[in-house]
């Protein structure tokens, strides 16, 4: 059984996405909304820069001492009556979780939104084991019914219109076609309420875990995560191993940063601090609590001093919302579970897949992501490091094609030899002549409307400037003589 079913081909899928006008409209309105809400919240937080800096320091510290904190977390959770499991990779994590279910005769599972469970494709594992699993976050529920993957960390179904959802519900749930979001939400509420009350096991993700107290924190708006972690008799939480904050008190700045960056709320509707299973006297809550700590490539990320910072991510989604590339193509184009800038940096580090190493090139290096990231991840630096690793063939022999490598070598050689560079520029000047159109340009400059491949990638939609008849350095020879004192000549 292959451990993932992800298919990554950004070049192809981004092309398809860009042509989809409906998708584009949805993306623009979603990212505009998230951007505006975030900026408003950040402007209203005078301590923002200070807590960002502190959060970054704390994250650095945690990752530098991750072995200590994970052991401490295990100790605290065990003391609180929970059980901690360790999973080296996605398959192992899925096996652990399905085994917990099977040993307890679990027939049905309710799940709240968790990127880590998407990463390990947990639903497939449950289904293979004949266990029913239901996504309960409304967006995830829609996605599950449609048999798709989420397209945004926070709003998994932003690519779907209400019409799509109405049709989906009437087809899959046998209800009449309703179009109002209230009605659709009501249908989902009723269906899922039954699932909650009948489920034997709840699965959640983890936003933060506190070794000091053995507490895990789950952040959400719908209340489904509260229900998943309250009603079923077993609660299993899956956590990427970087999610640690050392002390209980640190949660205040991390919650503040995460929630404001994500949705611009001061606090999300629900934040649950869960410490072990129910206490003996409690009247509700799960009898068992399990935490699965997932490595799945994270220890490899940690080994690289430049890309290590990818592990500081809080999964707030702010970098997606400001990314001009994400805004054009949406989450599915990235082909994996994480998309946008954070996807472009962690997917190639987490998964060894065809096409994954090209994701760092799915960025214009504009740096908008770096500017909003609440833990100051230096995206351009990390993207460039990953590109460089790819070129060096560090990634299991996968590297760019020979023609690109040769072209760069030749280009470099020319740039290292100024006379050759000048000579080539003259050749280019003459070689371009058949392509140059002279109409409609100022300054007597030609424009080039069409060039052969690979330059056609440019000229398909944009004119290319013609190489100048006289380059700047040639003009300089004259300019130099009109020296600075004779300003009036200029």
């Amino acid at each position: 059984m292959p451990s993932h079913t992800f298919q990554i081909d950004f070049k192809r899928s981004s092309k398809v996405a860009v042509a989809d006008k409906k998708l584009k409209r949805a993306l623009v309105s979603a990212t505009d909304r998230f951007r505006a809400q975030r900026s408003l919240a950040v402007e209203g937080t005078q301590e923002w820069e200070e807590i960002k800096t502190r959060a970054r320091e704390i994250k650095e510290h945690v990752i530098d001492n991750l072995d200590f904190y994970l052991e401490k977390l295990e100790e605290s959770i065990t003391k609180a009556g929970g059980v901690v499991h360790w999973a080296r990779d996605g398959e192992e994590a899925a096996n652990i979780i399905t085994a917990i279910a099977a040993e307890r005769g679990v027939k049905s599972v309710v799940k709240s939104k968790s990127m880590a469970t998407e990463e390990i494709e947990l639903n497939n594992a449950f289904e293979r084991n004949g266990i029913k699993v239901v996504e309960t976050d409304l967006g995830e529920y829609i996605i599950q019914l449609a048999g798709e993957r989420p397209s945004h960390i926070l709003a998994p179904a932003i690519h779907k219109t209400r019409d799509d959802i109405s049709k989906l519900f009437s087809r899959k749930l046998g209800v009449p076609y309703y179009e109002e979001p209230e009605e659709l939400t009501g249908i989902a509420r009723d269906k899922l309420r039954e699932e909650f009350l009948n489920a034997d096991m709840g699965v959640s993700g983890v936003n933060f875990a506190v070794p000091e107290t053995g507490t895990i924190v789950v952040v959400e708006n719908e209340g489904n995560a509260c229900l998943c972690t309250t009603l079923p008799r077993v609660h299993v939480a899956l956590m990427g191993m970087e999610k640690v904050v050392p002390r209980f008190e640190d949660l205040s700045i991390f919650l503040n940063l995460l929630i404001k960056s994500a949705t611009g709320q001061k606090l999300s509707t629900y934040v649950s601090f869960i410490t072990g299973p129910k206490n003996i006297l409690d009247n509700d809550g799960p009898e068992e609590f399990h935490l699965v700590i997932l490595d799945n490539g994270r220890s490899k990320i940690l080994a690289d001093e430049v890309t290590r910072q990818s592990l500081y991510c809080l999964r707030c989604g702010a970098c997606l919302n400001v990314c001009p590339v994400y805004r054009q193509v949406g989450g599915h184009a990235y082909g994996g579970v994480y998309s946008g800038p954070i996807g472009a940096i962690i997917m190639p580090q987490l998964m060894d897949l065809k096409g994954v190493y090209e994701l760092p090139y799915a960025s214009s290096l504009c740096g908008a992501c770096k500017e909003v990231c609440p833990v100051n991840i230096d995206f351009p630096k990390v993207l460039l490091k990953l590109r460089s690793d790819f070129v060096k063939g560090r990634e299991k022999g996968r590297r760019p094609g020979l023609s690109e490598r040769m072209a760069i070598k030749l280009w470099r050689y020319a740039m290292e030899h100024r006379r050759l560079y000048e000579f080539i520029s003259r050749i280019a000047y003459f070689a371009q002549m058949p392509f140059v159109e002279r109409k409609g340009r100022r300054n007597g400059h030609g424009r080039i409307g069409s060039l052969p491949f690979p330059f056609s990638n440019w000229t398909r939609d944009r004119d290319f400037p013609a190489v100048a008849k006289k380059t700047f350095r040639n003009r300089w020879r004259e300019l130099e003589n009109e020296n600075g004192d004779s300003e009036d000549k200029l």
Binding site: V325, G367, W411, W458, D461, T471, R473
Partner: protein
């Protein structure tokens, strides 16, 4: 001339600047380089052009070819180390300036001698607009232009060098200019170096959005500070024959 603020008083030392013209300007847009020279000279700066310069290595670096980029970076440092210590290095590109000022460090980090040579060079590097406002202390360069101008923030100038006010102040001081902000003026135009040809569809989709906002702003002239962005925006303006003039800040200031 009244607006030549520097070096007019007898005996005062003239400011010297070496032009780091960038390969794009050298090969495709020499008039931008000329405009830079014109503006700087008008302000009394002694301009020189180290002839050995070629490319700073950014295209290779951005594509992941670190070793090739390093070779060109070393070459760059060598070429500009020849200047006297008090010579500024001025470039009409925020992107190329940030390559030297921000990213070279990454390339040289294992070589203390190179780091040392780099720091001597990179501290002298200024992007054109910030050189005018921060070093020369000028906002009004005595230019005049009749038009409604909007400014596109080039990503590297804005986010790597943190410069957004200098070009705006310079534009607003040009007599006859009406300045307006376009919506999303700090959103990437989609150029991104090799990104523009690796992912042309995405790049053009970003560009479409940029052009929509420029169009809606009511400006008749778009000014920016980087030939990459201007080549991208200008390439579509020319293809679609849109009624917008696209120019480098230096060209506006030389007019």
């Amino acid at each position: 001339m009244s607006f030549s603020v520097m070096g007019n008083e007898p005996g005062s030392k003239r400011i010297k600047a070496s032009l780091f013209v960038t390969c794009l300007v050298d090969l495709f847009f020499p008039q931008v380089g000329e405009s830079v020279v014109r503006v700087l000279r008008r302000l009394g700066v002694d301009v020189d052009f180290p002839n050995e310069q070629t490319c700073c290595g950014q295209p290779a670096f951005n594509s992941g070819y670190t070793d090739d980029a390093r070779a060109l970076a070393e070459r760059f440092v060598g070429v500009f180390s020849g200047d006297s210590r008090d010579t500024y290095i001025v470039s009409p590109s925020g992107s190329c300036a940030s390559m030297v000022k921000v990213f070279y460090e990454e390339l040289f980090k294992n070589d203390p001698a190179l780091c040392d040579a780099l720091s001597k060079v990179s501290s002298r590097v200024y992007e054109f607009s910030s050189f005018l406002t921060d070093v020369l202390g000028v906002e009004d360069v005595g230019a005049s232009y009749d038009g409604v101008v909007t400014y596109h923030d080039s990503c590297h100038l804005l986010r790597e060098l943190g410069i957004s006010e200098a070009p705006r102040r310079l534009i607003k001081s040009v007599s006859g200019v009406k300045f307006i902000e376009a919506e999303m003026h700090d959103e990437c135009c989609g150029f991104g170096g090799t990104f523009s040809v690796k992912h042309p569809e995405v790049s053009v989709s970003m560009l479409d959005e940029k052009l929509t906002h420029i169009g809606k702003s009511g400006a008749d002239t778009l000014v920016s500070t980087d030939m990459g962005c201007l080549m991208q925006i200008g390439g579509a303006v020319s293809r679609r024959e849109l009624p917008i003039r696209v120019m480098h800040l230096a060209e506006l200031l030389a007019s």
